[in-house]
């Protein structure tokens, strides 16, 4: 009934399991040919180069509705959402979120995805605007349980858009130049999709420089296959860094903690001293 305040119209959205986003502006739109404009947020200081428009169907004195179909997929990144009052509108109005019905996404990890794996989650930016977080990856390894033990950490995950063959390896790569790597063998399921791998804490701590560092986690599903990032993308949580938190472990004078990055990728931080 009452809503949070602030300038800017609000837009409700409903996402289905395929990633289709139905958008609705509950308040009547004045424009005769209203569109939603989605702009891929560029790096700081760079101009916007990628955008999408979604025509809105407006009912007289009623809500305006539009649908962002699953295809073509959105490029990976953060898409800000605006209201365009017409094709020549040069000052689109940035929109705020109303209700985001994302319940169809919660169990998204249960459904196997073909390549490329495209994911989109409407979310609220720090400034309170609506945006869509999109991932687009040739293949994806969805992290599930993470069990942090005293001596080792075991991650359970599942491939999407690729299958395991001979010579598969999980590779941890230290972030930075001339970065060291650590390989561990995944234990794969009979369906060649599910797998788990175990990282030895002392081994990882020993391989980390004295000032500490961050290990990014990849899986090569076959001996010569390109790396697939291990991440957690297939649910309703656009930013899980602060909510999906796993315990830390101590080894060889270092503190190790598996964590999700701002992009929901899985990494392991090793802090020394």
């Amino acid at each position: 009934m009452t809503t949070e305040s602030g300038a800017g119209a609000r837009v409700n959205c409903v996402v289905d399991a395929e990633g289709r986003i139905a958008l609705e502006l509950p308040a009547p739109v004045a424009a005769t040919r209203p569109h939603l404009l989605l702009r891929l947020r560029p790096k700081k200081g760079e101009p916007v180069t990628v955008s999408r428009t979604v025509p809105l169907e407006a009912v007289a004195d009623g809500p305006a509705r539009g649908v962002l179909e699953p295809l073509p997929a959105l490029e990976e990144g953060r898409w800000d959402v605006f209201l365009l009052n017409g094709p020549d509108d040069t000052a689109p109005e940035r929109l705020r979120p109303g209700l985001r019905d994302l319940r169809a996404l919660v169990d998204g990890h249960l459904r196997d995805r073909p390549s490329p794996v495209a994911v989109r989650i409407p979310y609220v930016t720090k400034e309170g605007y609506l945006a869509v977080r999109a991932w687009l990856r040739t293949a994806h390894a969805e992290a599930g349980r993470i069990d942090v033990g005293d001596r080792s950490t075991t991650v359970t995950a599942r491939l999407h858009g690729a299958t395991f063959e001979d010579g598969a390896v999980v590779r941890l790569r230290m972030r930075g130049s001339d970065a060291p790597e650590r390989d561990v063998r995944p234990v794969t399921d009979g369906d060649h999709l599910g797998f788990r791998f175990t990282v030895d804490h002392e081994d990882l701590a020993a391989g980390t420089a004295a000032e500490g560092g961050i290990w990014d986690v990849f899986v090569h599903p076959a001996a010569d296959a390109p790396p697939i990032r291990v991440a957690r993308l297939l649910d309703d949580v656009a930013d899980r860094k602060a909510s999906f938190v796993h315990p830390a472990a101590r080894a060889a004078g270092a503190v190790l903690r598996p964590y999700y990055t701002l992009d929901n990728d899985l990494s392991i931080r090793v802090a020394t001293g």
């Binding site: 009452t2 949070e4 209700l99 019905d101 319940r103 942090v148 796993h246």
Partner: protein
């Protein structure tokens, strides 16, 4: 007796009344006749009292002239947007008057035993008094103990004085109870959010002439389709503070996660206990099942992702989140703490009530619903149905009836304490229903006033 105009009838006819002035008989005419002012601590903040006041104000604005008077203001815009028909008037603007000499002097009218005493001052005393003396409102509704005291002591005779208690008498410190006992006698109506608290006020405070009645908080009609009971998710929402007992919830949930590792618990909210709760989750090995999600507003889109709601508070004057979850189609497992939950949940029908602080009973009640899909879904449907009594239209109808009866009783020279039953007993021979009499009485008063204006 109803044809006699009241002795000291103030001139209170407003423009929108004149529009319908030809319609002498309808209830609508009476209902559009009131100017209602809410006196609120700070309408620019976030909180349960603010939300529920804005909701009630908005619903009343359908037929009444409604304003919210905010004693304090600390920012340009309120964080919850009021309905455009509801006007908002601040009394002390802290952005400019924080260092006002009178604001650095302790309050004398606002009781010193009140929780918010330190935010009040001689300046707030003066501004509230000035506003009350000048108000043209028919009804002023105070929304916290200290403001109810202002209302009781300073509102002019022509104003119907309604005090609202959003906390409970039992939990007020003794010095505050003493201060309220004296002041509240001068109110016309006192509302609590539960029947239990209303009983406490009637039993423990001698308030002759004051009508004491429970008026629950309202929760807006959900916009989204209700939860379907299939999600393997339990959700709680509230500030992460000790009284919410999320430590107990996490312990109880450990049993669920052990038996059903694919079930998740999400706790929404921020607060001082976040790190301690996180540590508990890690210690119990629940990092893959229990999540501190941070604050979320609105909660509706989060409730519908779950199939069970849970509230583990040791004290809950009302229990807004319980009603919110139920309105979204979730059965709610709650502690039977004073006083809200037991007046919201029907144990075994639309949720479960368990003893306060009992980890095992809480865990068993959760497991019962996790295990039994059919029962969980049936209880969820019952919850959505039963919680409709907290819809704004129902609560506002109750509030309007209460205000109209009180106004009518006053105008007719009777005490506001007369309940409809008393009226019916007195006037049964006239063949009217009590409510109609109340409406007619008010209608006549207004009619008479309008004639006087012509």
């Amino acid at each position: 007796m109803f044809n006699r105009p009241p002795a000291a009838a103030p001139a209170r006819v407003r423009r929108h009344e004149l529009v319908t002035a030809h319609n002498w008989t309808g209830v609508d005419e009476v209902c559009t006749g009131m100017k209602i002012s809410f006196l609120l601590h700070n309408a620019y903040g976030i909180g349960g009292t603010i939300t529920t006041t804005f909701n009630l104000a908005q619903a009343l604005a359908e037929r009444h002239d409604v304003e919210i008077v905010s004693v304090l203001r600390h920012r340009k815009r309120p964080q919850i947007t009021p309905d455009p028909r509801v006007s908002l008037r601040p009394l002390v603007d802290l952005r400019e008057e924080k260092d006002h000499a009178s604001h650095r002097t302790p309050a004398k009218v606002f009781p010193s035993a009140e929780y918010r005493y330190r935010q009040y001052s001689r300046l707030t005393d003066e501004r509230i008094a000035e506003w009350l003396a000048a108000t043209d409102a028919d009804v002023v509704i105070g929304t916290r103990p200290g403001l109810n005291v202002h209302l009781a002591l300073q509102a002019p005779e022509r104003v119907l004085r309604v005090g609202q208690e959003h906390l409970t008498l039992d939990n007020h410190p003794a010095p505050l109870r003493t201060a309220l006992r004296r002041a509240y006698r001068r109110l016309d109506v006192l509302t609590t959010v539960t029947e239990a608290d209303a009983r406490d006020y009637r039993r423990r405070m001698h308030l002759p002439g004051v009508r004491v009645e429970a008026l629950p908080n309202s929760v807006p009609d959900p916009v989204l389709p209700p939860a379907d009971g299939h999600a393997k998710m339990i959700v709680a929402a509230g500030r992460l503070v000790p009284v919410k007992r999320y430590d107990l919830l996490i312990q109880a949930f450990a049993r669920v996660a052990c038996e059903y590792p694919d079930w998740h618990l999400r706790i929404y909210g921020a607060g001082e206990q976040r790190d301690a709760l996180r540590a508990r989750i890690e210690r119990l090995g629940l990092s893959n099942n229990a999540f501190l999600m941070g604050p979320a507003a609105p909660m509706e889109a989060e409730w519908v992702k779950a199939s069970i709601g849970v509230s583990t508070s040791s004290f809950e004057p009302f229990g807004m989140t319980i009603v919110e979850a139920m309105r979204c189609g979730l059965p709610v497992v709650s502690t039977d703490c004073p006083y809200g939950p037991a007046e919201i949940i029907e144990d075994g029908v639309d949720g479960r009530l368990v003893p306060v602080g009992d980890r095992d009973r809480l865990g068993s009640a959760l497991l019962e619903l996790v295990r039994d899909d059919e029962r969980r879904r049936a209880m969820g449907r019952a919850a959505a149905e039963n919680a409709r009594r907290f819809a704004p239209r129902n609560v506002v109808a109750h509030a309007e009836r209460l205000l109209e009866e009180a106004v009518a009783a006053r105008s007719a020279g009777r005490s506001a304490t007369k309940t409809p039953r008393d009226v019916r007993q007195n006037l049964v021979s006239h063949g009217f229903a009590a409510r109609d009499i109340a409406h007619t009485a008010t209608g006549r008063v207004l009619r008479t006033l309008r004639r006087g204006q012509r």
